[in-house]
Symmetry: C2
């Protein structure tokens, strides 16, 4: 039996980014519309509320750039918090670090996790079976409010674009809670949108994170499936000593396992703020 190949598109202003495939899932959860398609060349791909989240072939561009700059620059990354990340890719990259003892993955939409486990096996891989991974179906802001001070080593925000239920994850109050529950030398990381397709959101994130943490830096790279292709991740801390420099002992092993990221790639990405963004931030 053969299924119909159709185009699914993320439409952003005058542009559209389409992937052709067979629709495996077209489901309305409590929070959003979830579409999963099966493609010939990209593996399976996940779309939430009309926006591409991930595809088997290209997800490493996103997950490796969110996780490794934070974890590689931490000697003993034991307790990790992931906000969002329901496809399992961020958890998978974190679990490569033997020193990680527990990951709290806080995802608001249980259906995203259940469907990812079933249809995006290449993304979560063995992460779902790892006893260090604890899943909590919960609003991210509510979770961080309940955690006591100085608890996590690393917080990774792996969420969709700012809108409705994810808006709060880009707020000053959320960033302040994250800072409170991070250890003193802890590292905060968030996806920070595209400087081209979502310039205002991108600038807002950088400016807000700057108000809360004493140091920060934004890494630029690409995610093929996202509007404009250009994407960014912002890292922050209150520990000025060697922020984002290599500290994890066996990082070379992690480097070898990666498709996109390595320490050199990372040091390049931190220099690639487009001139027009630099000019606006300098004003």
């Amino acid at each position: 039996m053969s299924f119909k190949q159709v185009w699914s598109d993320e439409i952003h202003q005058d542009s559209r980014y389409g992937i052709k495939g067979e629709i495996l899932v077209n489901h309305k959860s409590k929070y959003q519309e979830i579409i999963i398609i099966k493609t010939k060349n990209n593996g399976n791909a996940l779309m939430l509320d009309g926006c591409w989240m991930t595809s088997d072939k290209e997800e490493k561009y996103y997950h490796e750039c969110l996780v490794h700059p934070a974890l590689s620059s931490y000697e003993d990354p034991a307790k990790i918090l992931i906000i969002g990340g329901g496809d399992g890719g961020t958890a998978r990259e974190c679990l490569k670090y033997k020193k990680v003892s527990s990951i709290d993955l806080v995802e608001i939409d249980k259906d995203v996790i259940d469907l990812s486990k079933k249809y995006l096996k290449n993304t979560g891989q063995e992460a779902w079976k790892d006893i260090r991974l604890k899943i909590h179906i919960c609003d991210g802001m509510e979770w961080v409010k309940e955690i006591h001070n100085n608890y996590y080593d690393i917080i990774l925000v792996d969420c969709s674009d700012p809108k409705e239920h994810s808006n709060v994850l880009f707020s000053l109050s959320f960033y302040r809670e994250c800072k409170r529950i991070l250890k003193q030398n802890g590292i905060f990381a968030t996806q920070s949108e595209s400087p081209e397709a979502f310039k205002d959101a991108h600038l807002n994130i950088i400016n807000s994170v700057k108000k809360v943490f004493s140091i920060q830096s934004t890494l630029y790279s690409c995610v093929p499936i996202y509007p404009s292709g250009i994407w960014s991740w912002t890292f922050a801390s209150d520990n000025k000593h060697d922020f984002l420099s290599k500290k994890y002992k066996n990082i070379e092993t992690i480097e070898k396992s990666c498709e996109i990221w390595n320490l050199n790639y990372q040091s390049g990405g931190f220099k690639m703020m487009p001139n027009k963004i630099l000019k606006v931030l300098d004003e």
Copy 2:
């Protein structure tokens, strides 16, 4: 009178990259199909044989990364050769350098130049009126064969993807001719495709350039309108002394004029070879 807004798509494997707009030009030249559309948010955009070439809004991502790494690292960039570049954007960036005394722009398709002058005014801007710019409607390979040894300071290859009439511009024999007509400390630069969407072509370019020139380096960045968004430009020379380091005196003035590129951005881009490309090249 209002015109119909339609989607024009570049289709690559399972993916499509579309821009919505009013079709201003749909013309079959001697060499290719030329489409120019007018959009609300991206300005005008040019498509050749179904592939996006440039748009008013996003062309600087491409042109600044092709031109400035070469010209900024040259003390006296006087004689420039551009192969392709019929939209005028590469010439425009070169003409920012006061030391440039002449640019030979060798474009095979006169219609691309004529239509760009009329419909992509924001890309060529004043370049077409600059007496330093000489236009030659000619095949790139034929042009380089006719030039005597050690003639140009810089050669910039600004061409479309390898196919039919552009294939020769990615050949060893073309690179060898370029090396012959470059001065001893001259710099060769070519767009070198996407490491994601056109991985084989990308690797072929790097490997071929390496066979001809003694040193080379590939810069990675993004072009929003191109398949996968990730793009690359490869620079080469036989002059080992300070390859691709700042030499042009008033480079700060050029930096200020740019939307994307600056010297820091460039040094980052040269580090961003994706790990999976690095692994293949190391084999």
